[in-house]
Subunit: 570 residues, 2 copies
């Protein structure tokens, strides 16, 4: 990094030469929306405010659902995966009707939140017609996701379609192969209508890149939808797809799900395939990324995982996948949940602390649930500081070399959260020995977690993030999610049914004195930067964690919890 805080990969002149490509790429999205239904598009652009308004006001974009007809709203709003497939079987709905309704909802989502990078409208319509024909000819569904509209995080290779992972330099990349997950979802009958946005480097808990710009939060458009799967969270929360297929290496499924009040699963590594995608992570094994779904109900996460794994059998395509069936859950009659109010490193914002308290108060009344307070026996502030510091070093263990090599050919400017990320490990490449040492520490933690906590507990309940949905550019602390990537224990994020409240959540609690706490709560001069006014409309979601490979049980326990909390399908 040079003294003016710019990196040698940045080159404004070079970047300017990519302008026409970027414009053409974005124009294609507009053209597809218009071509699908010019009248509808016109109606939408008239109704939905300008980007400037959406970026500065806390607009609840879900009110634009009324741009759809009531039939369309019913399809995209009320029907679960099970409903959709059953209604096709019974002849009440066609895949084409479903697809068209979801394309309309995706257009509304795009105009309100800027969540889509690439539309696949002609492909989706053709696919829907083929599915309808197949059903007509055979009286059978192609698979358990027949006619179910799934949005795809863009960095998954799509055969012969430009795949950039938001790296401007990759605007000539048209993969010959496709992501194994796409192959599998295809086999199961899914319809793909959109490929959604991810942030620069795929390494923000936010979504902002130099090709399509910033993605907004549907619940409050001036807030962040989270990231890096923020295109997915925005489109699913806008009812623009049934399931969003995202990925997570530090919170990238969970933060978006939390910020938009959805359900998100970060499975244990190697259960879903990562094969054939674009990222800087190739060959990095210290913290292994996963793909994972975002959906509007926990039941749909469950049925999606079951379909993907048991029918999709990813291990037949990807030798890195473990051949473990999505099994029936094995919950004890009474489940024992350890609750972590605070990770002992960064104090959550008041809305989150309140969310945990209110949730625990409700769960404690349930005779089938035993609550144990974990903070007294949890890792100390010093221990957590060291763990998180090691965690960050592992993310940037190559000194950002691969990332920089992917940005350099375009000279694209590095965004603030990109620069934040690049300083995680001090910007220096670890030695192989240093890397091994940190891996050894990580493995010891994994064992300790099993022996010290999960020998007694069934699950751990904790915040998903230190705040409710975050201000754009301010998702600085990954610890609540990245801790579990480091340990590779699976989690589900679910809405707590609690929203930030300007009055209730105004008081700043007593703070700790470490650098990460200050980064989150304070400005450069040490003053408190937290401002309750900024978080209007932001929901609070919690994270439930279980034992490695017991993803099914985490999902099943979440079903139980949301049923107690009375959390409905979004």
């Amino acid at each position: 990094m040079t003294q003016d805080n710019s990196y040698p990969s940045e080159d404004a002149v070079k970047f300017a030469t990519f302008g026409p490509k970027i414009d053409a790429y974005n124009k294609d999205a507009v053209d597809q929306m218009q071509a699908f239904d010019p009248e509808f598009y016109k109606k939408c652009t008239a109704a939905i405010p300008s980007a400037e308004v959406l970026d500065s006001d806390p607009v609840d974009a879900t009110k634009f659902w009324n741009l759809l007809s009531s039939e369309e709203q019913n399809i995209v709003g009320n029907l679960t995966i099970a409903d959709l497939t059953q209604k096709q079987l019974s002849g009440e709905l066609t895949a084409l009707q479903i697809t068209e309704a979801y394309i309309k909802a995706a257009i509304v989502a795009q105009l309100a939140t800027n969540c889509v990078m690439q539309f696949l409208i002609p492909e989706a319509l053709q696919r829907a017609r083929e599915l309808d024909q197949y059903l007509k000819d055979t009286q059978k569904l192609v698979g358990p996701l027949h006619g179910v509209v799934v949005s795809l995080k863009e960095h998954m290779n799509y055969k012969n379609k430009m795949t950039t992972a938001s790296y401007v330099a990759y605007m000539d990349n048209f993969p010959e192969n496709e992501a194994v997950s796409i192959t599998i979802l295809n086999k199961l009958g899914a319809v793909f209508h959109t490929r959604t946005a991810q942030p620069q480097g795929i390494m923000h808990l936010d979504t902002w890149n130099n090709i399509t710009g910033r993605t907004r939060n549907p619940l409050s458009t001036r807030l962040s939808p989270g990231g890096s799967s923020g295109g997915e969270s925005a489109i699913v929360a806008m009812h623009g797809s049934v399931v969003g297929h995202g990925s997570d290496i530090g919170g990238s499924v969970r933060a978006p799900a939390a910020f938009t009040n959805l359900f998100g699963l970060r499975p244990t590594t190697r259960r879903l395939s990562l094969m054939n995608g674009l990222s800087s992570g190739k060959g990095q094994e210290s913290i292994v990324a996963v793909q994972g779904p975002l959906a509007r109900s926990i039941d749909e996460l469950d049925s999606y995982m079951k379909a993907y794994i048991n029918e999709g059998k990813p291990w037949l395509y990807d030798p890195m996948c473990v051949p473990i069936e999505w099994r029936k859950e094995q919950l004890p009659a009474k489940i024992k949940i350890g609750v972590l109010y605070d990770d002992n490193l960064v104090t959550p914002f008041p809305a989150v602390s309140r969310g945990v308290r209110e949730t625990v108060a409700k769960l404690s009344k349930c005779p089938d649930i035993e609550i144990v307070e974990l903070n007294p026996t949890w890792y100390s502030e010093k221990e957590m500081f060291d763990i998180y510091t090691a965690n960050l070093k592992l993310y940037t263990c190559d000194g950002n070399k691969v990332q920089l090599s992917m940005w350099a050919p375009s000279g694209e400017p590095l965004l603030p959260l990109t620069k934040h990320y690049m300083k995680f490990g001090g910007g220096e490449e670890l030695s192989v020995c240093g890397n091994k040492e940190l891996n050894g520490m990580r493995d010891a933690l994994r064992v300790e977690m099993l022996q010290k906590y999960f020998s007694d507990l069934d699950f751990i309940l904790s915040p998903t993030y230190n705040g409710p949905a975050e201000i754009p550019g301010q998702s600085l602390y990954w610890g609540y999610t990245s801790f579990w990537n480091l340990l590779d224990y699976p989690n589900v994020v679910f809405p707590a049914g609690v929203y930030h409240d300007v009055e209730k959540d105004a008081v700043v609690p007593e703070l700790k004195n470490n650098a990460y706490e200050k980064m989150v709560w304070c400005d450069d001069k040490g003053g408190i930067k937290y401002n309750a006014e900024s978080y209007v409309g932001g929901p609070v979601a919690l994270q439930l964690t279980g034992k490695r490979y017991c993803d099914e049980d985490v999902v099943a326990a979440t079903k139980k919890i949301v049923s107690i909390l009375g959390i409905e399908r979004r």
Copy 2:
């Protein structure tokens, strides 16, 4: 490395100070053998030739089985795991009788092959008595390995027992925890009477260290028993234990099994636990080590794995283990086997090529087996050169720093095969970027293997090693086994029923021109060093490889193959 070919960690003066510790350690083994049965020990030392004779002559040490009574010979020679447990249930045998017979056989094994590092005779006898009492009290076996005598590769932590992994500097290391595998085998009812030898650094396909010296091959004592689990292969081949529990990161279960005519399994990673062991590998993930058993029959490998995994459930103790049951095999009616006569990089010695030819000739006659010749479509010499070179670099990716740090405190001299190993990657530490790149290449190979070969084939049959059992210090080329560690596909090694023949195997074939080929076949001046006379008594074993996590099927197919070949229990 300094110019005289010595490393800075070597220090003869410092090493001399460890002499008394080493002597005391070895004296303990002698004391335990004598204390167990002074008369028997005397009889053995009188009958078994001196180390000098055993090291220079091709002595078939199995003839010393006659030092045991015929009852004892029957117990250790003829009874499988199933027989042993059943005869205890029926009251025909006690765990104590079994244990005593195996202790005697282990003493003979030790005196002939120097395979044991540490005896556990008092512990084994006490354990046997407890098992007998339990059976008497409950009419039940403790588990599927009740009274089954298992030898343990020494680098597995044994609670409160000196654990060195053959590092002289670790002669003060008395672990507080024990290897998870020991916990599991204990739970299953196994008896431990010995901890066996591994080479310096646990990184030779041979067994020689500075604490207990060199281990010999029971079938021809001047040959190597293979390594690094050579203590296990020697003791099992001498009928000194039922199963040997070894480990493998480059061939360390398979070369020993091959050199001593046993069955050995290198499972897919993370099926057996590696937790709580001593090695230099902590945190190294590019090539992941596995534990695996050596046994005298394929049926016993099968039942051992089934017991360990399905009853032992290693994932309850070790979060790195995958919770995949040892399932019933799923073999097609006709199995399709690709045969690799030569890896296209290092031409095997004549006995091995003959072994493959004779095996294929027999299998080809079986209507249930289809043979496909793989060499025409296999990786080219250039490709294999690059793959093997990358493979070697990954073994020493930290520039040997951890190894050297473990040798330095004792100043122990580095043995020839240790120095050979240390030069694998040129002795230089990779950068994290360089490491990631090689990992990426490895992952691409894993996928290609699935898509290009295992999409059509069920299994691949190949040599286990370039020669029959090797001359000590000459196991230079790991490629036939290490290729599969790099790719992490599981294999079983089985005896081909073929032995090196001085006359049949005298002719040197046409050779390739690459450096690895020359290292194996030629001396420093480029002359042929291969001498058929050197390999008298050396058996040939082949390696069967299957898809990742399909270990059960590889075992099942091996059952079929050895039944066709008429290979009996050893």
